[in-house]
Subunit: 467 residues, 2 copies
């Protein structure tokens, strides 16, 4: 199991910037108990947006995903995921972590004949043009993912690529498409029905950022040969563990409470996620979305204007010791830093005993594994010297099983801290206005009012620029 | 030239969260004039750490770099940069931006026969093992970069790779190495002299994070065929422009002052860098290091404890509209967001007129170029609706010339804001303690005291964990 070491947020470790953990845990024990009980009681209520808590028990979906992966096995050289935000970040984080590094550069045999995988998560004309230049679309399985079917970025990508596929393959183009979308509504579902794409369902009441363990994440992961049964096993064991309503036994609750109190009582408004493993780099991206969209809210549940939300930041150890740590140690003491430490890497790599006569002799004969973990430990202690709160999550190794535990723990933690803040962690009202403006700028029918409003603002700004 | 649009930090655009720019500019005009005058006067003073301001005029280095690139042209399939922090981030940011996207996946002809490029900026045993598995080291030019020659991460990588090169190539291994290091001192200089590596110099009084336009950045960039003359031309024109002591004419001074006042007067402690182009993604990484290490300081120049420093954050448009924008709009109003907007992409990519009978008809026939810039504009206006300050830097196109302007502008901005904060922007005392602990954990001679201290702390922490 993954473990959480919260020593370095305690008052014993960092003085006044720390928490009296025993007291905090005891004080909040009833509240935590109530929150966890309610989450588990309400998860099947329509509109609760808690259906992601059931994704470990969706054997039917897992079976269909595996069946599909088996059917297309060997037929494609590439998987191309069209999706943005929650539709891409989960599978991207897990595939980056779990596939051999530099996967797309490996020869096919070294990939055990599984396809390369690309996530087209932006609408950059140069990037898309370049990608279309290197991909043989005939040998590419396109997984287009959008619940609503109207996400402008994803659907415009899909329009470009569907058009090219049709040019190349005629009516057979549909064999290269798998759509993951709402089970009955939306444009993509309509297109899939009419044109006959293979489809998977984004389940109801599962928000994008909580969808990694649904078909949204499982399909791409299975297609590149990852073991989705092990993922499910990881969620299940973690779900069981985190049903424990005793804060002393529940790391998601501990982590949530610590971050909540650090924000509210100690002015630590920033949450840094810093894995010490390049393979885990995108786990931070996924975490940033999970926290930013779930917790950044203007109003609480009672309708009070709160402008809530710690700011999540991604960092990478040991690399960012040479970039961000100077600030974390000496800048404003406004951060909680979470390290993810890999106890056992897949490879042991030794530093040879050369240059013995130089000041580098202390490195020779040691392993680089020892070096990276020494740096993680040293950075944690140095942060304490500066009275900076930090946590360490111990990942026994990088595997489907443990990463599923990790991500599911973060999801439960997010749900719990949302309740502590008393905000709705499952909506995202703050992104609507920019969407409307974009529709207006693109000349979408029905957005003439937005267009007018926008033009007025832009003209006003032009005047201001006469500063 | 690049342009800065600061409309959306004005009081006219965002009310009380904004600045009365005319008043601010006028009030600070004398201070800014003094700062810029002093920077240019002091840049040649030993110990001023301002030698990076002269890198646009170092014709000799540029000539040697081009000569070297010409000599090795066609001899290598790969360039492998060993470096961390400032030794890697600049060239990484510029090569990611300027090379064709997916460069390392392109066939050699599509790379005009230039090598692939890899930055090994971490000490992850799995990543290094995988990289050594895909690289034919015989056909790889290794550029090891460290000023001091004792950076543990870089030198341990180098020890591993030098050892393998020697196994493969015998005494010829040295032909595959180019070292960029101090001109006379340090272990790497010593090794280079003894073993006969080709070398380039990290100039004195140029910190790692300001070294991108020295041999540190120019060598790798020239090796993959980028036009370093154009880079130099970009720095020069920007240097000339930013010598202007009139704040109304100096975008670096404007940007510095705006960020300074936003931090000090308006509680905007976070600076988000958000280019709307996937190619510019690593520009944000470079910026984060520049700001975090330069501005995150415990003490000001007068020795007062200030714990200074805005926290820089990287984001990517349009992608992170589906990740971070919810928080930026609705969370704490503690951020200044800087957009980088590319006015003209290299490619124009049209969305075909298909699915006309669906709600997607507003996209068909438009270009994806229009969509990404519509999203940038919409996000900026939406942020104003929430009274959130934001700036837009206009990049006419992605080229050596304009990116050199951009990075050099950020460097001058950083120097200016450092003076406004009255801190030393050119040291990094806060990273020393963790280095000492790492030496201790690795058993380096002379660090027995650190080892003892560290063990006491770790043991104390073990006791605490009995919480």
């Amino acid at each position: 199991m993954i473990k959480l070491d919260y020593t370095n947020v305690s008052v014993q470790a960092i003085g006044d910037n720390g928490l009296d953990l025993n007291q905090c845990f005891n004080e909040y024990a009833p509240k935590i108990q109530e929150i966890i009980t309610n989450l588990n009681m309400n998860k099947d209520k329509p509109g609760s947006w808690l259906q992601w808590m059931n994704l470990g028990y969706n054997e039917e979906t897992v079976w269909y995903v595996k069946e599909f992966a088996a059917i297309v096995d060997g037929r494609f050289d590439n998987v191309l995921v069209l999706g943005i935000g929650g539709s891409a970040l989960g599978a991207q984080a897990l595939s980056e972590a779990l596939l051999k590094p530099y996967w797309n550069l490996l020869d096919k045999e070294k990939r055990d004949n599984f396809p390369r995988i690309f996530f087209l998560d932006n609408i950059d004309p140069d990037q898309i043009t370049a990608l279309l230049d290197i991909l043989d679309l005939k040998k590419t399985l396109v997984n287009v993912i959008t619940k609503s079917g109207s996400t402008a970025e994803t659907m415009s990508q899909f329009m470009i690529i569907k058009d090219r596929l049709y040019e190349l393959l005629g009516d057979d183009y549909r064999k290269n498409i798998v759509a993951t979308t709402d089970k009955q509504s939306g444009i993509l579902r309509q297109l899939a029905n009419e044109e006959g794409y293979k489809t998977f369902v984004v389940p109801d009441d599962v928000g994008g950022r909580f969808s990694v363990f649904s078909a949204v994440g499982l399909v791409p992961l299975a297609l590149v040969g990852l073991d989705i049964d092990e993922i499910i096993r990881g969620i299940k064991i973690m779900d069981l563990t985190l049903k424990n309503t005793d804060i002393y036994k529940n790391i998601a609750a501990q982590n949530a409470l610590i971050h909540y109190l650090m924000d509210k009582q100690k002015g630590k408004y920033i949450s840094v996620m810093m894995p010490y493993s390049s393979r885990l780099k995108y786990i931070s991206d996924w975490y940033v979305q999970l926290w930013a969209e779930s917790l950044g809210k203007e109003f609480d549940k009672a309708g009070n204007k709160v402008n809530n939300g710690p700011t999540p930041i991604k960092a990478l150890g040991a690399t960012d010791q040479h970039s961000q740590i100077q600030l974390y140690n000496e800048g404003k003491n406004d951060k909680v830093i979470t390290f993810i430490r890999v106890d056992e890497f897949d490879n042991e790599l030794n530093i040879p005993n050369i240059f013995e006569y130089t000041g580098l002799n202390y490195l020779g004969g040691k392993s680089i594994n020892r070096l990276i973990n020494a740096e993680a430990d040293s950075t944690a202690v140095a942060l304490c010297d500066y009275n900076r709160p930090n946590l360490t999550i111990h990942l026994p190794k990088i595997s489907e099983y443990y990463l599923a535990q990790l991500l599911y723990m973060f999801e439960i933690e997010t749900a719990i801290i949302g309740e502590l803040y008393n905000i709705d962690a499952f909506n995202q009202p703050g992104v609507e206005q920019a969407k409307n403006y974009t529709y207006a700028l693109m000349g979408r029918m029905g957005y003439e009012e937005s267009a007018k409003e926008l033009n007025e603002k832009i003209n006003k700004n032009k005047e201001i620029m006469g500063v």
